[in-house]
Symmetry: C2
Subunit: 225 residues, 2 copies
């Protein structure tokens, strides 16, 4: 019998190979895919909705919602008038290619520019699985604390974009989150990942983040024309 | 080759069997063990420190800190003058018996009454692993949102105690967490788990929680005498 470690290596290698299939399909259609990872309750869905709200006049969005159970998030997205596909993992702690591929198959990729994939709320396991996205983005919310970089280093090392959400909490007397300290940690761990500070509650900071994202989404779409 | 599902079932069954060894060892010494699970940044360490601060005159504590990397939390506990053992999982997303057992071996169980095990910050994977604790407790913090019960049902179903932390955030204008809604969900999912509301920042609510815990810790110690 193979050891657990071998089994895990096999799974990750298989997944990496399969991710190329998704990448090819997205490239053919000029669709930019964002894999959004974070802890539970960090504001993934609210962040996606804030971005869509600002860019929907020029970008055609769809959202794939990963959840262990419930349709809470995909209903929020559908209520905003955006196509949404729900993946219910039934216990699994991350999304992988065999879950994302059929969900993508339900979307009309030829008529889309950007797909957000909201991963399972988990700062550990999703970081290990390539799902073929153009951007592996993560959110850290202020109430979680800036020391999470030290405690969950793989996620912070593998992401290509770090969004600091709930900046409206920075002004609270109970707050001890330092954006400067976070930037210092990231400078050592992952200096190329840009960091944007936003509040999905007030909307602060989203214009800058959306400019950055829109450039990348349009760049990919133009590659196809 | 065995399927992944078989491998996972084997691991969980092995772990369950091994957990009995920990239970026996704790019973011999009259030590009450708490497995504390939660998302990253929900306030596990601060909650442990608030409990210890209130009960340390009558209860002899030690803490086992699970972390993927870093010694941030065990240093906080040691600074409070409490014996602490750090488990660095090096990537693993949960604690299991083979990690907890040697950590317990480093503690002087004969001279302890209660061991807190701070699990990896993760609302998914730790819920599957019995580590031989008397109490599987979880924290949900207010900024995470009350809908987490619907999204991570296994954790909320298997816990024997739910602590709602950061209740000082309930008064914020951005708050949409309803303790009543949470209690409604729990009534359907896990009606026997008591729910305590605390703020590890202000200290509110800890007297009630500590009374409840102290009764159980003393009950176990008295079983040995």
């Amino acid at each position: 019998m193979k050891s657990i470690l071998n089994v895990k290596e096999d799974i990750l290698a298989d997944n990496k190979r399969q991710a190329q299939g998704i990448r090819d399909e997205l490239a053919r259609n000029g669709v930019y895919m964002v894999n959004l990872m974070a802890s539970p309750g960090s504001g993934k869905t609210s962040t996606i909705l804030q971005v869509i709200d600002r860019l929907r006049d020029s970008v055609r969005f769809a959202v794939i919602e990963g959840d262990i159970d419930s349709h809470v998030d995909s209903n929020k997205v559908k209520n905003a008038g955006i196509p949404a596909v729900q993946i219910r993992t039934g216990g699994a702690c991350h999304l992988d290619v065999p879950m994302v591929e059929p969900a993508l198959g339900l979307l009309d990729l030829a008529n889309l520019d950007c797909v957000f994939v909201e991963n399972i709320g988990n700062l550990v396991c999703p970081a290990e699985f390539d799902i073929g996205a153009d951007l592996d983005a993560m959110i850290l919310s202020v109430p979680e604390g800036d020391d999470k970089v030290l405690k969950y280093p793989l996620m912070f090392t593998t992401c290509n974009l770090l969004i600091v959400n709930k900046t409206d909490y920075l002004a609270l007397p109970s707050n001890n989150f330092s954006v400067e300290r976070l930037r210092g940690h990231m400078q050592r761990l992952n200096p190329n990942a840009p960091i944007f500070e936003v509040s999905a509650y007030t909307g602060d900071g989203f214009d800058k983040l959306c400019d950055w994202l829109a450039t990348r989404i349009r760049g990919k779409a133009e590659g196809v024309r």
